[in-house]
């Protein structure tokens, strides 16, 4: 439950690049609570693949531009 994830994301920078979209706006558009967006941004929660696609779609970017998976060797 508390193992660190290798999944990182660019949601914060994407929000700012998209008219400084608020976490609440993004949450409404994705259909989740603001607390979940906060947890994802802070790397405390890894969304399902479907939610990850929905987030990427809000910003009109490919999935791997919104989410990245670090190489375990790094």
């Amino acid at each position: 439950m508390v193992k660190p994830t290798l999944v990182t994301n660019s949601i914060r920078s994407l929000r700012f690049a998209n008219g400084e979209m608020t976490q609440a706006d993004l949450a409404d558009r994705v259909g989740v609570t603001r607390q979940t967006i906060i947890a994802i941004e802070q790397g405390k929660y890894s969304p399902t693949l479907e939610m990850a696609f929905r987030i990427a779609r809000v910003f009109r970017v490919p999935l791997d531009e919104a989410f990245q998976y670090a190489d375990e060797q790094e």
Binding site: M1, T33, Q35, A39, S46, P47, M51
Partner: protein, 142 residues
Amino acid sequence: MTFLEKSNWVVLVVALPTLLVYVAVVAPQVLGKPIAEVSWVQPMIFAIVGFIVANVLGNVVAAASNPSEADKNDERDREIDHVGERVGNWLIIAGSIAALVLAMTRADHFWIANAIFLGGIAGALLSSVTKIAAYHGSFQRW
């Protein structure tokens, strides 16, 4: 804080005093007189009914404090709820197994009822603590 997290705080805030008051009422009797003479049925009924009523009232207050959030939950809430319930269920199962063993060994009704009661309350406490910890810490599936 989401409504479901508030709801877990309600369980924690209600279950802990319920358990402490029940133990404070019954434990001195257990130490001071034979088990058959201990008055435990009424305190246990009060504790169970009190826990349910206080829990319902607490949830109503939590919902009223932010009505627009009261019916909102998402997959993270559901996953945290699922994990918390699974952890809490271990204590409920432990209480039930203890009750079974006590029944098989013809223990007094007092011990059988209290094994189930304490397992249930402890399970609710552990479940809500687990969920609150998951809300505030890291919760990963990947």
